[in-house]
């Protein structure tokens, strides 16, 4: 082999390695504001031991610029909405004349709440998402109108709740009274829907790291929700994302706030147990 073909061989190898690496999640660490360390990859929770060894945040599947936006609150457009929610948090509403802050104190007092939702609420006798808990507060404690499940006010408030818990590990309970709902969510996760006959697992378990047309498939983790998406320049609620995914299989979707999506959110949340709460994250 002469020098030229040797060089060409080395060149080809480099190209193959480079294109192979493109489909892989980024090798990068996320530290927000140079202060909050975010766990973006960790050992998979025990209930996933048969299907994967490691769980990864969707942050690792995004491009360099998008990842950088999330590492500084000033650059993260989602924080605009967190600021708006902070104003709402301190503003009285409803017939009782109470604000969120009147009962709960400063929003930072709510650190640790986001990581355990959705959770079984004894008094309600059902698994509740953060949105349901917020609306319960508004209706029964504040005497205020319920917010639309994925409306602007609601998404902003869930972003505020997520932002004060950033860096804490997701820790959704899957046993005890939540177990039957969790099983239902798991059933939905592995059920093929739509004309394309796709289940969540077909993309997010079997093919994460591969390309789906021009985009990377992530594991579909929800630790970063609500997510600011560059494509629609607003915060997106997790169940709106579920709806988008199910729609993409060409199926009639469940409604955000429906028992099916609550169960699915519990199950998908539990697949990310151990990852840090990241919301509001920045995604494509």
């Amino acid at each position: 082999m002469n020098k030229f073909t040797k060089g060409l061989g080395a060149c080809m190898t480099a190209i193959i390695v480079a294109s192979g690496a493109m489909a892989e999640p980024a090798d990068d660490n996320l530290v927000i504001n140079g202060d909050i360390e975010i766990v973006t990859r960790t050992a998979a929770p025990a209930h996933l031991s048969d299907v994967m060894d490691e769980v990864m945040s969707g942050w690792l599947f995004r491009g360099t610029e998008t990842r950088a936006m999330e590492s500084d609150d000033f650059d993260n457009p989602g924080m605009i909405f967190v600021e708006q929610a902070e104003d709402v948090w301190n503003t009285a509403d409803g017939s009782e004349g109470k604000s969120c802050a009147d009962c709960h104190g400063a929003s930072s007092e709510m650190a640790g709440v986001r990581p355990v939702y959705p959770k079984y609420v004894e008094a309600a006798g059902e698994v509740r998402t953060m949105e349901m808990a917020i609306n319960d507060c508004r209706e029964n404690r504040m005497g205020a109108e319920k917010w639309k499940y994925t409306g602007g006010d609601m998404v902003n408030m869930t972003a505020l709740m997520a932002s004060v818990s950033r860096g804490m590990p997701v820790n959704v309970a899957i046993d005890g009274p939540a177990q039957s709902t969790w099983e239902q969510g798991k059933e939905i996760y592995y059920t093929r829907f739509g004309q394309l006959e796709l289940s969540c697992a077909n993309c997010h378990e079997d093919n994460y790291g591969n390309m789906i047309r021009a985009d990377h498939l992530s594991q579909g983790q929800i630790n970063g929700f609500p997510a600011y998406r560059l494509k629609n320049t607003k915060l997106n609620a997790v169940q709106d994302r579920f709806k988008g995914c199910v729609r993409d299989t060409r199926a009639e979707t469940f409604a955000p706030g429906s028992p099916e999506f609550v169960a699915l959110e519990l199950y998908v949340g539990s697949r990310g147990n151990g990852l840090s709460v990241e919301g509001p994250s920045v995604r494509n």
Binding site: F74, D75, P77, I80, T233
Partner: protein
Amino acid sequence: MASGVKPRVKVPKSAAAGETITIKTLISHKMESGQRKDKDGNAIPRSIINRFTCDFNDQNVVDIELQPAISTNPYLEFDATVPEAGTFKFTWYDDDGSVYEDSKDISIG
């Protein structure tokens, strides 16, 4: 005045004389392009920030003309050289005549 408009800027508190610093600005604004139509088919009137300026001790640093295709919540980042202690003054001009202002002091040290 368009609703929900709030300017934000990030400037280091101090710099060495002659140092080049990075300034980040962001204003929450819907930046309605004027090209969209509402449910009834009527054009939604254009409402954007059309100009942004930054001055340092009354000397202009940047003067930017913004166009309708710029996305919501425009984010502008630029470098400035700081010869002396003083004040950065930021001004955003809205289509509807509103002017939004913010300022940041910087010291030498």
